[in-house]
Point group: C2
Chain length 177, copies 2
């Protein structure tokens, strides 16, 4: 769970509404496994869970696994949390239609591969938890890779897949200690 | 949600452990949308939610939609609730590997098509809710189609997909009124 409030191990630098409404401003973010009890002074909290892969083939997974970076690296002092919700039209598509848009037309996996291992990433699902977003993606990277991360976001947001994103917030953070 | 206990619109005829432990015996079953508060005397309850399609292609969906039967038909006085959990090995497979086993090798969609519109079906997901099962499938059919339903179960349980089912309970029901 991600909880924003007066305390936390990550300092919130900016909260930007990319599409749709923003989230309330807060000073710090706590990242915790499982369903943490909300602490006093919490401004907002977003829950999600890691789950099985929904689109990735074995070939793609092997390519990702060979290069994937892990979270929690010492030099990864920058992070981003990007909650998104996709439209009803997206969720009504059949599996092959979603994969064709996401993987083949939008090159979502290939674009991601261009930025690992510099950018470490973890996807959390929340559509089925009654949360306001469908996905939360958490990224960690070293300060010198900030421009690469910015480029990754620009490329993804130009894709056809992103036409289906109806709510997106971008939260940029730095490690507090 | 499905709640078993002393009251409900469906009479529980049998509860059978197909693989792994059974569920406690109970007299009646209540089927309710959303997250019902447990009523007094509830023996067990299983939660799930309908979700987007995870494997079905547009072509398969069109074939299903053309023949699909709706729940709640007057003559559908028999029902079955089949909770299943698949193994960790299943969930660690990539998307294309799961689809290959389920759709191509096991013919899960094709087998299902053979029994609609006689057998109406709805799938609920619960893996991401911290429930003891991954899926709950609810079936409704007229008494004269019971043998067809039995045959459907036999065929599915003979598939390679079912090698990955590590817990399955079969609950047979009849409408109480």
């Amino acid at each position: 769970m991600f909880q924003a409030g007066p305390t936390g191990e990550w300092r919130i630098e900016t909260i930007t509404a990319v599409r749709g409404p923003s989230l309330p401003q807060a000073a710090m973010l706590t990242v915790a496994d499982g369903l943490l009890q909300l602490t006093n002074g919490a401004v907002w909290a977003l829950r999600g869970h890691t789950s099985n892969l929904r689109y990735t083939t074995r070939t793609e997974l092997t390519a990702l696994d060979q290069r994937q970076a892990s979270l929690g690296r010492d030099d990864a002092r920058c992070a981003a949390l990007i909650p998104i919700r996709k439209s009803a039209a997206w969720w009504e598509l059949a599996q092959d239609e979603r994969r064709a848009i996401m993987v083949e037309q939008s090159q979502h996996i290939a674009i991601g591969l261009d930025y690992i291992p510099a950018i470490a990433r973890r996807l959390f699902h929340c559509r089925d938890l009654g949360e306001p977003f469908d996905f939360l993606t958490w990224f960690e990277f070293a300060p010198e890779h900030t421009a690469q991360f910015d480029a990754l976001l620009v490329r993804l947001r130009e894709t056809r897949e992103w036409h289906y994103v109806e709510h997106e917030v971008e939260i940029r953070l730095t490690r507090a200690n």
